[in-house]
């Protein structure tokens, strides 16, 4: 049994943890790739990363991307950008703080420690001097948090929600990456970059050789059951958690069925078939369905407002119930 608010906090802690890791990986990639990009490509790649992370609206509020330092500030330290690393790390900490009574102490300490290690928190314009070290620190801390989550936390509903949050966020990231790659008319997002941005390059090489082609990578990121970041793998784990949770929380049965349907569409090749005709609209629709799934999970957790209605009538002082009218109702 878990409080609805705690379930929500753990779901979001899982989502933001994944987001912190994804954004850090994208930033690392952007910082490293500057060494071999041709003039003009850096901006195109930056826009592609922003699209992958689904942050176009947030970027629009800041203005057009003009330089790589601007991209780094936007993705790393901009506290107005909910997808920045700082925002995600802060949100992980805040969400875990609200449930610190039910999570392992080490989990809270690691999340709090990561937050406290940001010297520029609260200063959106501060440029970090050692980007590589900061990103490495974030990714290592995220891995440590994941490790404690997986190895140190009881397999209760709270754990299930944290994992569910991670899987939803990860699916959204991977589908977003595929969508951005297909929409990329300038050829920035090639097969190798897709694999690097999902930490899947090495795994792909071992399985398929070291000359990745675009279509094969897309299939790999969609279908590989043994790849933790593939969409199918994420859906499997999300569905498994939802099945367990829905056995007692009826409101989560709807998202459970939706996850099962998405998995079936993927396994039966329906998504790929549609992609062969219209890849971008298909992936956009697929992404929208994941967003809807995430929204359904949220709706399933948060009880309807009607539950807050107080039906009790006023009991006068001294009219304490003697149990005579069903729990001492008003007389």
């Amino acid at each position: 049994m878990i409080l609805a608010r705690h379930a929500e906090s753990l779901l979001w802690a899982g989502r933001y943890l994944e987001r912190a890791e994804n954004t850090s990986r994208c930033l690392s990639y952007a910082a490293n790739s500057i060494t071999h990009l041709r003039p003009g490509e850096a901006t195109a790649e930056g826009e592609m990363l922003v699209r992958t992370l689904g942050l176009q609206d947030e970027l629009e509020a800041v203005g057009p991307l003009e330089s790589q330092p601007q991209l780094i500030a936007f993705l790393l330290s901009d506290t107005d950008n909910p997808g920045s690393v700082v925002s995600a790390v802060t949100a992980v900490r805040e969400n875990l703080r609200t449930v610190r009574d039910r999570i392992p102490i080490e989990l809270w300490e690691e999340a709090n420690g990561l937050y406290l290690r940001f010297p520029f928190l609260g200063h959106a314009d501060a440029a970090p001097s050692g980007l590589h070290e900061v990103l490495l620190m974030v990714r290592r801390a995220c891995l440590a948090i994941s490790g404690i989550l997986n190895e140190g936390m009881r397999r209760d509903e709270g754990h299930a929600f944290a994992v569910l949050g991670r899987m939803l966020e990860r699916s959204i990231f991977t589908v977003g990456l595929l969508e951005a790659s297909h929409a990329d008319s300038r050829g920035v997002m090639d097969a190798t970059r897709m694999l690097r941005l999902t930490s899947s390059l090495q795994a792909y090489h071992r399985q398929h050789g070291n000359a990745p082609d675009f279509d094969s990578v897309v299939r790999y990121l969609l279908h590989a059951k043994d790849l933790p970041r593939s969409v199918l793998s994420c859906l499997d784990r999300a569905e498994e958690r939802l099945t367990g949770l829905a056995s007692t929380a009826a409101a989560l049965d709807r998202p459970r069925r939706k996850a099962a349907l998405l998995r079936a569409r993927l396994e039966l090749g329906e998504v790929e078939e549609a992609m062969s005709a219209a890849p971008v609209p298909t992936l956009q629709d697929f992404l929208a369905q994941f967003m809807e799934l995430a929204s359904d999970v949220h709706t399933g957790i948060v009880p309807p407002l009607a539950m807050a209605t107080v039906r009790s009538q006023y009991i006068r002082p001294g009219d304490g119930g003697d149990g005579g009218d069903g729990g001492g109702g008003a007389r």
Partner: protein, 491 residues
């Protein structure tokens, strides 16, 4: 891992001079008291750099865990790391035995008074032990609590009694806290941090453990189920993550293995409290609330409060839930009622108080008022409804103008003031600059009452970190010490 005992250093205690107050570690002639002989020896082996290193280890531990407190009067950066001085307070077994008996006695009498007041027709008032006008004019008196039945008549399940040691070495009660006394989490975390940073200090000291608090509290709250249910659904009710004591609320829930809820997590339906879980509404039996009475139920109390649970009072009256501590305990926290507690002990228990009060003048008594105001420059004036050291005037430290202002304020509103003899709080060595120097301290032990009463060994030792200061509150620059109660020696 084997601890390494540091080599002798350069005498942190070489220039230690106990002042006029009772020093817990040293006699007036400068010789070490028996209880402290081994710890003083250990500290004499340390040098300042080693102590600083250990302090940093402890501070890092607190920072990592987010063990902080909030200073509301500051505009920014209000979260501070909990300050702890490494030199522990040590209480010998026999001394603790007497102190804990005195605390149990005091809390028992106050529980009797609360039960009498809210459910027994007010016999003590009728018999003239406490004036009726004083009780009903107290801000802590809660008419809505009249008639709400409380299991075992235990209105105060968790009490924090502030005691001090005067110049004669005897303990005295300075203040009673029967609403939401805080500090127990710091007691447990102080010990954990000390044990991690300098476990070798504990050698040869049979110190009573502190980690059993969660178990003791759980057992107390289990016994408070309204219907005698032996495995009640217990929750800890917090105002939320921005409350200064949120760390403590989470600590309490975690150490008991129960949920930490906010008001919005609870709902009252048909005079029954439920928590909103993903499986639906689940009945709640016992609420350990860390929210003041006024904020508990916006229907009955402050309508602007979003912290509480609408309809909670109706559930209390229906007897479907127990709120711990009970509603209306603030009447005993009122410093105006404090002078009557020794009489309450005599009245209800037929015994003399084991721990005395600090001599107190009641400002609503004209004779006592004129006597006290004439020598206010030697005394301490306290508003009856404040806590945390706020509003306190220490006569010897006040200017003539401050004294005159205080006299006028008291004359205008005598019901809301008491004046006490200045107690030179006892001292212990604490680190100042590069030496250990005497610093004043108090002690807040915790008394748990449900079906039976237990006193948690030790308590929160608060220490004034400025030379000569008598203000130990953390909100006003005070620190803390680990408190060691020594186990009785086995024959």
């Amino acid at each position: 891992m084997v601890d390494v005992i540091p080599e002798p250093g350069s005498g942190l205690l070489d220039q230690y001079q106990p002042g006029g107050a009772f020093d817990e570690a040293f006699d007036a002639d400068g010789s070490v008291r028996g209880t402290y002989s081994r710890i003083v020896e250990r500290f004499r082996e340390l040098d300042i750099s080693e102590v600083r290193r250990l302090e940093n280890l402890v501070a890092d531990e607190f920072r990592r865990q987010g063990i902080t407190f909030t200073v509301y009067s500051e505009e920014e950066g209000t979260e501070r790391i909990w300050p702890m001085d490494l030199f522990p307070r040590i209480i010998a077994a026999a001394e603790w035995d007497e102190l804990s008996r005195g605390l149990s006695q005091r809390v028992a009498a106050m529980n009797c008074f609360l039960a009498d007041l809210y459910n027994g027709g007010g016999q003590a008032i009728a018999d003239g032990v406490v004036p009726r006008w004083l009780v009903v004019s107290s801000r802590g008196f809660e008419r809505n609590a009249v008639g709400i039945r409380v299991p075992h008549s235990a209105h105060c399940n968790i009490a924090g009694i502030d005691v001090v040691r005067a110049a004669d070495g005897r303990y005295r009660v300075l203040e009673d806290n029967l609403r939401s006394p805080s500090g127990i989490s710091y007691v447990v975390e102080n010990r954990a941090a000390m044990a991690k940073a300098c476990s070798w200090l504990f050698y040869d000291h049979p110190v009573e453990p502190t980690e059993q608090y969660g178990r003791m509290l759980r057992s107390t709250l289990d016994s408070m189920a309204p219907d005698g249910n032996d495995s009640p659904h217990i929750v800890v009710l917090t105002p939320g993550i921005y409350n200064s004591a949120y760390f403590e609320h989470a600590f309490l829930a975690r150490s008991m293995g129960v949920e930490l809820v906010e008001g919005r997590d609870l709902v009252v339906d048909d005079h029954t409290v439920y928590s909103r879980t993903i499986e639906g509404l689940v009945k709640v039996d016992v609420i350990y609330r860390r929210i003041d009475d006024d904020f508990l139920d916006p229907v009955a109390f402050r309508p602007d409060s979003t912290l509480g649970v609408p309809g909670l009072l109706s559930a209390l009256r229906a007897g479907t839930v127990t709120v711990c501590n009970a509603l209306g305990n603030g009447v005993v926290d009122d410093k105006g009622v404090y002078p009557y507690v020794p009489d309450l002990i005599r009245y209800y228990l037929g015994a003399e108080p084991i721990i005395d009060n600090v001599p107190t003048y009641m400002m609503w008594d004209p004779d006592q008022r004129s006597e006290a105001l004439a020598r206010l420059d030697e005394l301490v004036a306290k508003p009856v409804g404040e806590s945390g050291g706020y509003g306190v005037l220490i006569g010897p430290h006040a200017t003539e103008r401050e004294l005159d202002d205080a006299r006028a304020t008291i004359e205008a509103d005598p019901r809301n003031w008491i004046v006490q003899e200045l107690v030179q709080l006892s001292t212990l060595p604490a680190l100042a600059e590069d030496q250990l120097e005497p610093r004043h301290l108090d002690l807040r032990p915790f008394v748990l009452t449900g079906e039976r009463t237990e006193v948690f060994p030790g308590g929160l030792t608060r220490v004034a970190m400025r030379r000569g200061s008598l203000i130990v509150n953390s909100s006003q620059g005070g620190g803390s010490k680990d408190t060691w109660v020594l186990a009785p020696e086995t024959p």
